[in-house]
């Protein structure tokens, strides 16, 4: 069948072809329908005319391999593929929603709007990394938002699956990506680092907040390589009233050395959702690039071959940077339990040097104080709990960027904790058992409910009998 000449009304393997949505250099997209189809669909047909470059086909092949393996709300739902030998095509969900490209056209945007858009995108990227895939070509045109605000990543033609052969690398043997968004290590030919996607997110944040691209759109390899040694002008140079926390986050994502960026997209999503918690460093207020000596040093380094690091799949990167939620009740006066939890968290923090510890307590509305509770009383209780959390965590002796603190409130502590864990991509919850107090008999066990409902591993800490 000649797929290069489809027109509305054509039939392909039971799909009725509708309008042509997009015609790019690599592929053509059509709306399609099928009897009993439950959601809108599109068909992607690669350009394989006589004489077309074989790389068109490799991108299509890679997208087919990877998209078929992905699930969840942050990628288009997979429908089917045509037999590649005679009629190559893919059918997937047609995601109706605005593209990040449309928002980028409106830049500069207010910081909180940019933070919301990119926090949703970081959530999608974390979900992708958890499924062993690095996108490696994230740019506004490849991000769509569903009506509910969830971000969807599309176009996996340059992506890398940790368990599949890397057909892209073998085909091109040179850096591939989009000039404005490609990370320094991708320029050097490294396609194994999930933090490359975080660099692209930093470029997007910069673009949304300032209306400018931090590295422009170079057209030559020499132009690409400039980002190996020349850091971008801090965004507050362009937008002086950009909040310091936003510049802190942007420059953290745009660190030249991947190990200095956020360890995971989940950490980035958390900071964008809780800007008041971002510890400010020198990045926050800087108005100039790094000095000449630093640039010369980086330039020198960029001319050496990178040491070939042992290949690691994306999930092994994530495994070294878990998000750990510690649920405490510092006001309950159970010092032995607090010490036991401290010991447990110390072990976790020592095991994974990039883990982030979120110290959380839940304020339950207290029946006895309810009548006389004024706002001041609640505020002072809130502050007291926060101070107690900080006091407890000081014993961990961890740098500020590895700690976050939250006082939550709600009548149902277990439900509040589970929801917090879900929203913040928590990998492990560490909490104390309430013990065999009268309170527990009356209210039931919070930890038992968290264990039953949490989306992650839960460790319940107990003090040996007689010591509590």
């Amino acid at each position: 069948m000649d797929l290069m000449n489809l027109h509305p009304g054509s039939e392909v393997d039971g799909f009725r072809v509708g309008e042509k949505i997009h015609e790019g250099g690599m592929a053509v997209l059509y709306r399609v329908e099928r009897e009993g189809g439950e959601f809108p669909m599109l068909m992607k047909v690669p350009r394989l005319e006589f004489g077309s470059h074989p790389s068109c086909y490799v991108g299509f092949e890679v997208e087919q391999m990877i998209l078929e393996a992905l699930t969840g709300p942050h990628v288009p739902r997979w429908v089917t593929k045509g037999s590649l030998e005679d009629t190559p095509y893919l059918v997937m969900e047609y995601v109706e929603g605005r593209s990040l490209h449309e928002y980028a056209d409106l830049a500069p945007l207010p910081a909180d709007q940019a933070a919301r858009l990119v926090a949703a995108l970081a959530t999608a990227v974390h979900d992708l990394h958890r499924q062993e895939v690095i996108h490696l070509d994230i740019k506004p045109a490849n991000v769509l938002y569903r009506a509910g605000g969830e971000a969807v990543l599309v176009d996996f033609g340059l992506a890398r699956h940790g368990h599949f052969p890397d057909l892209v690398e073998e085909e091109f043997h040179k850096p591939v990506g989009t000039a404005a968004y490609i990370s320094p290590e991708q320029v050097m030919g490294d396609r194994d680092n999930p933090r490359s996607d975080l660099f692209a997110l930093g470029v997007i944040l910069y673009q949304l907040c300032t209306g400018r691209l931090p590295f422009g759109e170079p057209a030559t390899l020499g132009g690409f390589r400039r980002r190996l040694f020349l850091d971008p002008l801090p965004p507050r140079r362009w937008v002086p009233d950009l909040p310091e926390w936003m510049q802190e986050i942007i420059l953290h994502c745009l660190e030249i050395e991947a190990e200095k960026r956020y360890a995971t997209a989940a950490q980035l999503a958390f900071d964008l959702a809780h800007p008041d918690q971002v510890p400010l460093t020198g990045r926050a207020t800087r108005l100039k690039r790094a000095g000449l000596p630093a640039i010369v040093r980086r330039w020198w380094r960029s001319n050496r071959q990178p040491e070939s690091a042992a290949r690691a799949v994306p999930t092994s990167h994530l495994a070294q940077a878990p998000q750990i939620l510690v649920a405490l009740d510092p006001g309950a006066g159970r010092e032995a339990l607090l010490r036991a939890i401290l010991a447990e968290v110390r072990r976790a923090a020592a095991a994974d040097a990039n883990c982030r510890i979120m110290c959380v307590t839940v304020l339950e509305p207290d029946v006895s104080t309810e009548q006389e509770t004024g706002h001041e009383l609640v505020d002072s209780l809130y502050t007291r709990r926060l101070v107690e959390l900080h006091h407890w965590a000081a014993e961990l002796r961890l740098p500020a960027h590895r700690l976050r603190f939250h006082v939550l409130d709600g009548a149902n502590a277990a439900a509040v904790l589970v929801e917090y864990a879900r929203q913040n991509h928590v990998d492990q919850i560490i909490m104390g058992a309430r013990g065999s107090s009268a309170l527990r008999r009356m209210l039931g066990s919070v930890s038992a409910r968290v264990v039953a409902e949490a989306p992650c591993t839960v460790t319940v800490v107990r003090v040996p009998r007689g010591l509590d």
């Binding site: 940790g162 599949f164 085909e171």
Partner: protein
């Protein structure tokens, strides 16, 4: 349809049982034995008593160099311990088992897949596929999209990349790898009965014909018992130790 590809069983009954059980739980409906059913291990007859009925029922099997040696072929290319095992195995076999081995072809073909013990290029000379050049020759000779071989005891996946040299990939255990058309893929199944990569677990692979994917597996089995039987049979000590250490 899922096809389990088992190679280099080498008379290891415990490993054979474990792999067939594992494949059945994974939904395998067809079995292919890529040769070297015998040699090294202590259970040649018991292994053939499992394999021969499966072949009568439709499973495919091809001949390996150790099987050929057991039938009386030359042993010069085999190491001394392997020769000892071949001589011992010859004494164990009855005529029915020899007839079964005699009936095995050097290569087989089914749909888009080519099956051979060593290489599709000169299968009777038992070359080892140790790199991209040998893999390219094998794929050119097979001419089919998928080629399955054993002989080399490690699990490896080779594939053609347009005009470029053949590429090599080390599969991750248990992860399904899509094998796309317009390329040729050469899968080395690994050894069921004598792994040599330091991991004593048995190796095989599963080909999902509907999804066109390959999944390489490692299956732990009671290798202490298999080693004990090798010692009890009076076979060379090194063969027992190899099962215990995976080297």
């Amino acid at each position: 349809m899922k096809i389990a590809v088992l190679s280099d069983i080498h008379s290891n009954l415990e490993a054979l049982h474990a792999c067939i059980d594992h494949a059945r739980r994974q939904g395998a409906e067809q079995y292919v034995f890529l040769g070297d059913l015998l040699g090294y291990g202590a259970d040649p007859r018991a292994c053939l008593e499992i394999i021969a009925p499966m072949v009568s029922a439709g499973a495919l099997a091809v001949l390996g160099n150790h099987d050929e040696a057991v039938l009386g072929g030359l042993c010069e290319n085999l190491e001394f311990v392997a020769r000892d095992a071949v001589y011992w195995t010859r004494e164990q076999l009855r005529q029915t088992e020899r007839d079964f081995l005699q009936s095995l072809p050097l290569a087989a073909q089914d749909g888009n897949a080519f099956y051979v013990h060593a290489s599709a290029a000169a299968p009777e000379r038992w070359p080892y596929i140790k790199g991209a050049a040998a893999a390219a020759k094998c794929m050119a000779a097979s001419g089919l999209p998928l080629t399955f071989v054993g002989h080399v005891h490690n699990q490896v996946l080779y594939y053609t990349a347009g005009s470029r040299a053949v590429q090599v990939f080390s599969p991750v255990t248990g992860a399904a790898i899509p094998v796309t058309p317009r390329r040729q893929w050469l899968a080395i199944a690994g050894s069921v009965g004598q792994p040599r990569d330091g991991n004593p677990a048995a190796a095989y692979l599963l080909h999902d014909r509907q999804r066109e994917s390959l999944t390489f597996f490692r299956v732990p089995y009671d290798h202490w018992n298999a080693a004990r039987k090798i010692r009890a049979a009076g076979l060379p000590e090194r063969l027992a130790r190899q099962l215990e250490t995976g080297h």
